[in-house]
């Protein structure tokens, strides 16, 4: 049995402008100890999807349909109080993008850690403090005995993120959700934080879901990747497979738009246009308005997930067996050198 199984999850926001289908029927599974990356542009619904897992969607949003099974328990049936007591913190923890604003500025880091440990494990003040020092040491904060009594603003950006990770680890969660964990950090610190994630994943035997728009992060730490576009997962694959053989036109475009050190500006191929509004998504396939290889059927049929039995799912009509055009012709578009998608995977 998988640790987490999400089926047909739909989270809508009921706004005066109309219903925003932020997450519209996504499915994924996560095994214990596995790490999954959810990638996509801003507004693709990544954050809403993971917030839905924690029951954190606030008015005017609502999880309207679908099932979230965590260790066999249906999370959508739990009350707010049950979620708080049994799930948040001690089963699923979250690490935010901006650690500075995710730490309470008026209390010391230690005091915040101790509070979380005491609340979730019922240890005494002294025990909780000892545990907090241990955790800070684990996440690589130097001098934890001294540093524990400092305020968040006295920590550097990387240390703040480490403190956030310590807080997430405080109650031995089975799943950590990292929402853009490295976006606010500079590149040298990013690598350290990602190493730390890999390290704790092994040591604490937790699963991790990375939500990110940075394909470099995914490459570094994820076993499997799910690509989201406008509320739907368009492609799921083990990461090596995804880089070597991206099937969905969106994934291909996404990989082509990555800036690499040796690419000239012409070699980068940004995706044309912006993502349509979630209020009135395009009919049929949602990517068709920006898709270089869209054809008539795309506006009529919502592409199902095509599973060729290799753990590489894709939701694109190009892969329908009845479809006469069986090969996406992306790298034959005029004005582009070919092979840059493959070129990216080679290094």
């Amino acid at each position: 049995m998988s640790l987490l199984a999400v089926e047909d999850l739909r989270t809508y926001f009921f706004t005066p402008e109309g219903i925003v289908q932020a997450v519209d029927g996504i499915d994924f599974e996560l095994e214990a100890g596995e790490s999954l990356g959810i990638v996509g542009e801003s507004g693709a619904g990544k954050s809403v999807a993971v917030k839905s897992l924690m029951g954190l969607i606030r008015e005017p949003g609502r999880v309207v349909d679908g099932s979230i099974r965590f260790e066999g328990r249906e999370l959508t049936d739990l009350s707010e109080e049950q979620l708080r007591r049994e799930i948040r913190g001690n089963e699923i923890a979250i690490v935010f993008q901006d650690a500075m604003s995710a730490l309470n500025p008026v209390f010391t880091v230690g005091s915040q850690l101790v509070e979380v440990i005491r609340e979730n494990t019922g240890r005494t003040e002294t025990e909780a403090r000892a545990r907090a020092i241990e955790l800070l040491d684990d996440v690589g904060i130097p001098d934890p005995e001294q540093r524990i009594d400092e305020y968040p603003h006295q920590y550097s950006g990387g240390m703040q993120q480490r403190a956030m990770i310590a807080m997430a680890l405080a109650c031995d969660p089975k799943l950590i959700i990292a929402d853009e964990p490295t976006t606010a950090l500079d590149v040298t610190i990013q690598a350290g934080i990602l190493d730390l994630f890999e390290d704790i994943q092994e040591r604490y035997d937790t699963s991790v879901i990375y939500v990110t728009h940075d394909l470099g992060v995914v490459r570094e730490v994820c076993d499997r990747v799910a690509v989201m576009y406008l509320g739907k997962i368009v492609e799921t694959a083990p990461y090596e497979e995804l880089y070597r053989n991206p099937k969905h036109p969106y994934t291909q475009s996404l990989l082509n738009s990555v800036v690499t050190p040796d690419a000239t500006l012409d070699g980068i191929d940004p995706i044309e246009g912006t993502m349509p509004s979630g209020v009135s998504p395009p009919s049929g396939c949602r990517f068709r308005t920006r898709c270089p290889v869209a054809f008539d059927e795309c506006s009529r049929l919502v592409p199902p997930r095509y599973d060729d039995g290799t753990d590489h799912d894709v939701a694109c009509l190009l892969y329908d067996e009845r479809n006469p055009r069986d090969e996406p012709a992306l790298h034959e578009r005029p004005g582009r050198g070919d092979g840059s998608a493959e070129g990216f995977t080679d290094d």
């Binding site: 954190l56 708080r84 948040r88 309470n104 405080a170």
Partner: protein
């Protein structure tokens, strides 16, 4: 290791709490220093009269000057003199000692009533903002009903219901003050509620009361503290007004509002009976307002209270480097707008103006 410890010691100045930093900055604000001095004097008077009244049965004040309760009918309405620097009232009691004793009620009313409003307002405002929805609506409508009635009238209604006594006066003014504090706290809490650390606390599985009183309230308390010092003055005036109208402190407890009321009838023949208590109310309220203004300026991140000393230092350093002949030209350019180039000039100029006044 020693260098490590040195580094840690070096950073220790940053660990000072906001309260300490705020108090240290007070020294740059002359108005609030004057306010602090006035209130300090009042506190000394109040503490002295409390100890003297309850522990020593007015022995010290009698020995020093006169018994505030002792009547001396032949000597009524005596004009200010060496014996009675502020004169005597209609029963021949010395006004100076009664004013000293009156500071006790004035200050206690200020502190206790503001304390009740503060706690009540913080809890109601915080709960209202955090829970939102029907809770928010219900609490805020109730608060608005309270707000709609003039404070003095409302306090008179409470006093009429509970009966006139010092404790009911505390309570009445405490309740009357709650709406203002609740609204300040609510607006602060509304913006803090959506901060990420509140969400992080929720996700860490902390209970709602912890989130409210550890995450939200401490981060939004500063404006409420300013509100407290600023409203202290009006509460003291209000309490004096109630006593003046006969609803407040009952005789023979000395109280400024009561003394003012008693002196009113004899204003033409003995101005000193009403004048000195009125002066004391004025000075006290001014003291609290000056302190409150200073605190507000200090806590407002958009204004700076310190004079820009670093500029002077740089100026000295630059002057040393400057060839003697060019010093004047440099001075002119520099004095013209020391910090205006970066857009903070207006605030600095205001501040310097404030310092001089």
């Amino acid at each position: 290791m020693s260098s490590e410890q040195g580094r840690i010691a070096d950073t220790s100045f940053e660990t000072e709490s906001t309260v300490v930093v705020t108090l240290k900055k007070l020294k740059y604000s002359p108005t609030s220093l004057v306010g602090l001095f006035l209130i300090g004097a009042l506190v000394v008077m109040a503490v002295f009269s409390t100890i003297d009244n309850f522990l020593l049965d007015r022995a010290v004040i009698t020995w020093l000057h006169a018994d505030p309760h002792a009547m001396n009918q032949p000597n009524r309405y005596a004009a200010p003199s060496m014996d009675h620097p502020m004169g005597t009232d209609q029963y021949g009691r010395d006004i100076l000692v009664r004013i000293i004793y009156g500071s006790r009620t004035a200050l206690t009313i200020g502190i206790v009533a503001v304390g009740i409003s503060f706690v009540g307002g913080v809890v109601i405002g915080g709960v209202s903002a955090y829970f939102g929805g029907y809770v928010d609506d219900a609490l805020m409508r109730a608060i608005e009903v309270l707000y709609a009635i003039p404070g003095l009238i409302l306090a008179m209604i409470f006093m009429a219901i509970f009966g006139p006594s010092l404790y009911n006066l505390f309570l009445a003014y405490g309740i009357v003050g709650i709406p203002a504090y609740a609204r300040v706290m609510r607006s602060e809490a509304l913006s803090i509620r959506d901060r990420q650390y509140v969400e992080a606390a929720k996700l860490a599985g902390l209970p709602r009361r912890t989130i409210l009183f550890r995450e939200i309230v401490p981060n939004g308390i500063a404006p409420v503290v300013v509100q407290a010092t600023l409203s202290m003055g009006s509460v003291i005036i209000g309490a004096a007004a109630l006593s003046f109208l006969g609803f407040g402190v009952q005789p023979p407890t000395p109280d400024w509002g009561r003394m003012l009321s008693d002196g009113r009838t004899a204003l033409l023949i003995a101005w000193w009976v009403a004048f000195f208590p009125g002066m004391m109310i004025f000075i006290t309220v001014m003291g609290f307002n000056m302190l409150g203004d200073g605190l507000r300026d200090i806590m407002d991140p958009k204004t700076t209270v310190e004079s820009v000393e670093t500029d002077d230092i740089e100026l000295e350093a630059l002057r040393a480097d400057e060839p003697p002949g060019e010093t004047d030209a440099f001075d002119d350019a520099h004095d013209g707008s020391p910090t205006r180039a970066d857009g903070s000039g207006a605030g600095t100029a205001d501040e310097q103006g404030g310092d001089r006044s």
